[in-house]
Symmetry: C2
Subunit: 469 residues, 2 copies
């Protein structure tokens, strides 16, 4: 990278930390109505960062907390990148478990302790300071940048979709960057290139029109709890494979390269079992725990209820039984098609003596960023240099990150998930912290990234895909 | 029966109704603390009935509402009969659904409308007035009588067991009589000679030590909701037969005579399905609906819960799943042995990756009074004469009546369940009523019964059985 930029980062490292502390002192707890003025202050803090650098910036009011939007579009012919992050934080409770107060940032053992240190103020700040370094030294950015920094991520991003839809043209970009995840492990930086999709349904079986006395009527009418149990039991065979017809038909298999990458991560199954408190791992035969979590589709019961759920016995035949099921989907699987397949399969398992009711909540396909894409390589190269490591882990996540789906759905954008934090940084817990080494490496990686992406040249702006969900 | 007794019943019929109205005007709602003084008044009303007839009577205080005990033991060498009933009533709510107020007894279309009219003041009164008729005409009773009329039946008879245990010697009898059930249908009087037993258990399966994110972990650990579903599914085969090893081994099969009696009852399956709101009946193959309800053992899920049970989806792998199960037992089956068999069977169905926890709540064997017993024949003969019918239905009930089990367990007594009411008398509902024709036929049947039992001669006092539960 440009020597001047590198030098600037080194010379200003301490000031970056002091400024981050200022940011962290603002208690931007989006869930707490009493913090509303602090959210406004938080937005203004972010706005000033951009305004001071010459960005075209604005504080966009919403029905909730404001969104800060800023853009620098002065390099024609190079890629345009959108950075997304959030300036709001989780509540700090329980306060008595914090060693130092959550909104009095404190350095200890190389880490900065404060609510929001890593989630997401510290990580957002890396992408602001990287831009500053380019602008204060070279006077311009290698790429065009658009920042969307919202104030409601911790309360479900409830006004983000409207903002994105309203600004769809303005937000045209080549790729999105989000730093709100973690490294694979300390000194093992990672790029998350795949997320599973999801479908969610609920099934209710009804037998008698009200709960019946199990003595007077038991044995003479179908019990919906037994019926739903048979239905659930029919979802998997004894090898852990999902039995819904066609469930695996469209699955794009993991490549041998990806399986090898997963193996190379050196997953510690003993530690995993201890952390979860299970005697054994379980799941689909023929796949490792990592593959089962990240890259194989599932069908899980999330909730189940029927009849009496209080203390002690109650002698009834329940009138109803309900099960909530989600399937995690992998690339190739269509949530709409599989919702219907699940519907038909379960209906076929339902005894004629029970009424069957099916509700579909939502569905969205898996997200995967081609691990061989030049964007991934650009990001990996930027990170390798910043971390001084030979390799960057390419990992997937088993869950879905809603904002990534939104970018895909509304803006047609793929997202680079670049996590500078650690899983052990106590996100959402007392004593949240961020390693200052990771903070500075993150700024450096971000500054590198703008250059690496510029070197790729501009790609056509992606169009909005058809598979909205 | 003795002409003088018959004549007395006819001449005093209207007064009996007026006295019953006085009894019904006392709002003896045992569940309502504000009614406590009325319960005391109710007990005193019952006490005076007996005292006026020369019974040795007392109002026995308990930790709750008092028990009235009365005995007439002046006929050596003849059987001693214990009559059980209760003077407390269900709450009258919702009041606005009553045509006339619940504690202002009103005659309408041959029925007396009031809370407690049939459950159980009216039915209790038949056994008091029958004794009165004998004592006011002949001057003595054909049998020895002991009455236990409690005030807490509608709140679980919570002080009855202590009373029975404390008075075990005093309560020595040949047989118990309870009129707190119904006829099979109008003008089809019945004797209930069998009740099913019960065992009740709860099983909890535990997977991970807390609910897990179904995206991050789903597919890699055993889901306890799926595990419990497989367990429940394994309880029955596709013919509705319970799969617990040994479950049917000790079942005493229904005799061909009993099956024929059941068939002769002319069960209306279409009406039954409409009443319950089910498209089809279900259950063990090879048995009729009546047999399934009254005389075949069952294994029913009463409650089932796991994970998220609120509105909409929640993406978790539950930590725990719990099922509540009761088995109804028939003569021959041992609740303790089958509880253990169920325990072992379910444990064998539990995957090694889930922790298994089993709780047994209680169990008691089925009760059956030999339908060929001379007591049954004596009661049937008394009823036939009072009702002017050729036959009395011999029926069973699928449930358990706790007090019958208590008499068996504590006093070693069999119970004649002689119901004078109708299922349609609105027990526990607004507009409870009792046909005055049934009331008078009940008194007449009761008066007959004392004579018929006397004609049997005295039988040895039953001993306490070994199979306490």
């Amino acid at each position: 990278m440009n020597d001047q930029v590198v030098q600037y980062l080194e010379q200003n490292a301490d000031r970056f930390v002091e400024e981050l502390k200022d940011f962290l002192r603002i208690p931007t707890v989006s869930a707490d109505p009493a913090c509303k003025p602090h959210l406004q202050r938080g937005a203004e803090f972010v706005y000033r960062q951009f305004a001071n650098l010459g960005f075209k910036a604005e504080i966009v009011p919403t029905a909730g907390h404001p969104i800060v939007y800023a853009e620098w579009m002065q390099s024609p012919g190079v890629p345009t990148v959108m950075v997304y992050g959030h300036y709001d934080v989780q509540p700090a409770d329980p306060l008595d478990l914090w060693t130092t107060p959550p909104f009095e940032p404190t350095l200890r053992d190389g880490c900065l302790y404060a609510r929001g240190a890593t989630d997401d103020k510290g990580q957002v700040f890396t992408h602001i300071k990287s831009a500053e370094a380019w602008l204060r030294t070279i006077g311009k950015l290698p790429v065009n940048l658009k920042y969307v920094i919202e104030g409601e991520e911790e309360v479900g991003s409830r006004n983000l979709d409207d903002f994105l839809a309203a600004r769809k043209e303005q937000l045209n970009c080549d790729v999105a960057v989000v730093s709100d995840t973690s490294q694979y492990a300390p000194n093992q930086p990672a790029i998350t290139y795949g997320l599973r999709g999801i479908l969610a349904v609920e099934i209710t079986l009804t037998g008698p029109k009200k709960d019946l006395h199990s003595g007077v009527f038991g044995g003479s009418v179908a019990n919906p709890a037994s019926g739903i149990a048979k239905m659930i039991a029919s979802l998997h065979d004894d090898q852990g494979r999902v039995q819904i017809p066609g469930f695996y038909d469209d699955v794009i298999p993991l490549s041998e390269m990806e399986r090898q990458q997963f193996r190379d991560l050196g997953f510690d199954e003993t530690a995993f079992k201890a952390e979860l408190g299970v005697a054994e791992v379980a799941g689909e035969v023929g796949y490792s725990t990592t593959e089962r979590r990240w890259a194989r589709p599932t069908c899980e019961v999330n909730g189940l209820f029927s009849g009496y759920t209080g203390v002690g016995p109650k002698t009834i035949v329940p009138s109803k039984a309900t099960v909530k099921i989600t399937c995690r989907l992998v690339p190739g699987q269509d949530p709409h098609k599989l919702t219907e397949a699940l519907h038909q399969y379960l209906k076929s398992q339902c005894p004629a003596s029970l009424a069957f009711e099916f509700t579909s909540f939502h569905g969205c396909p898996a997200f995967v960023f081609d691990p061989n894409s030049p964007y991934i390589e650009a990001a990996a190269s930027a990170i390798r240099e910043a971390w001084g490591v030979d390799r960057v882990r390419l990992i997937r996540e088993g869950g879905s990150i809603p904002v990534v789906q939104t970018f895909k759905d509304v803006l047609g954008l793929d997202t680079l998930l670049l996590g500078w934090g650690q899983n052990t940084d106590n996100l959402h817990s007392p004593n949240e912290h961020f390693s200052m080494q990771d903070f500075h490496r993150g700024i450096r990686a971000s500054a590198n990234l703008w250059q690496k992406l510029a070197e790729m040249g501009q790609t056509p702006v992606a169009s909005v895909p058809d598979n909205l969900c």
